[in-house]
Symmetry: C2
Subunit: 226 residues, 2 copies
């Protein structure tokens, strides 16, 4: 499955894509907090490219909804409110439940093993870094969607995943019940493995609901604190 022995082509991705990836990474890991302006000249100096590729990368992130643009003013990192959190998890529910129903009916043992390893890694990250755990959480869901084998569900989910991470990453002290999260994922996987369509759908829907609740609660707690 690996391509060792073969030299991968140099620069397979275009510069705008490369820049967009770096910017997305920076937005998601907190380097660029919400509402910060992304200066074209500053970025072009830091990344040693002209403003052209920077602007093209920004158009991609604009389309993704990770950036907000004001004409003749610049682009800013989006600031997601409670409504957005609910909306994101509603959309994720739509995507993931459909993906799960496919995996239930036509998932392979290999798919299940991949998903199980994701849950195991999530369990292993309980006592580790907070960011690590959120990433593993999302990796499980990404693997679930990937197992469905739908290019478009995958594309839609990746966008939603980025937005989810953007919501989660700044709420570390407020997010409760780490062990519980692991169990929820394991239960979902078990239902899928048992080809129990109704149960998988029910658990996944509940998981989305609960996750959205946790985040909105955490957000309210954060607001009252400041």
């Amino acid at each position: 499955m690996t391509d060792s022995g073969q030299l991968a082509p140099l620069r397979l991705e275009s510069t705008p894509v490369l820049v967009a990836d770096r910017l997305r990474e920076g937005i998601l890991d907190g380097t660029f907090p919400p509402r910060t302006q992304l200066s074209e000249v500053a970025l072009s100096q830091q990344l040693s490219v002209s403003r052209g590729p920077i602007r093209e990368a920004m158009q991609r992130l604009l389309q993704e909804g990770l950036l907000r643009g004001e004409r003749n003013r610049g682009v800013f990192v989006v600031d997601l409110g409670e409504n957005d959190v609910r909306d994101i998890y509603l959309a994720r529910s739509a995507v993931e439940r459909t993906a799960a129903s496919i995996v239930v009916s036509s998932g392979t043992d290999e798919d299940f093993e991949t998903l199980q390893s994701m849950v195991d890694q999530l369990a292993g990250a309980v006592d580790s870094n907070w960011v690590e755990m959120t990433k593993m959480d999302l990796q499980f869901h990404l693997a679930l969607v990937a197992a469905a084998g739908s290019r478009r569900l995958d594309r839609m989910f990746r966008t939603l995943m980025a937005e989810s991470q953007l919501c989660i990453v700044r709420l570390e002290p407020f997010y409760p019940g780490r062990e519980e999260v692991v169990h929820e994922h394991q239960a979902i996987l078990d239902a899928i493995r048992a080809r129990d369509s109704a149960q998988a759908d029910k658990l996944l829907a509940a998981h989305m609901e609960v996750s959205a609740d946790r985040l909105t609660k955490a957000e309210q707690a954060e607001q009252t604190e400041s």
Copy 2:
């Protein structure tokens, strides 16, 4: 509800967005058939703008999946195969069924009237232009998603709608049963109106299935003909 008495701001959309809209329109109405290369210089001359905005608009359409880019070669209009048709309607099913479940539980009479007028217009377009009917078909589904009030479901659907139109537009002679299409939409609306969640979900899923079948059949017919 209208803003008469108030002057609308001039140039509310940025140039790359304007260009992207024009290009999308051109792709969907057949001006740029699949696999056509979009030349930057040619477009910049036709639209009287520099290559910069053109390139930025292309990045947006690239992200949407309407264009395919080859490094140092240029961008081309995507050519959607049978797998893509099935995938598109799978993704639409995910989005629209979720939207429908929301409208079933919290749709207003105003929503229903809007949807009914869409069905009526669709029925009125049965004997008219083919393109007009496909547009009205999609407009109904767009209104359905819009009634759910979810920004992200709406965004995802608009992308899928463009891809759907791209599939449908070139298959006029092969698409059967125009009257039947109208009845399917009316039945879906009736179920939603009756707040019958299960029935609406069932009909919508079936509608997606049937539509995808029609298109793949039409595509096969087209291929054997040529």
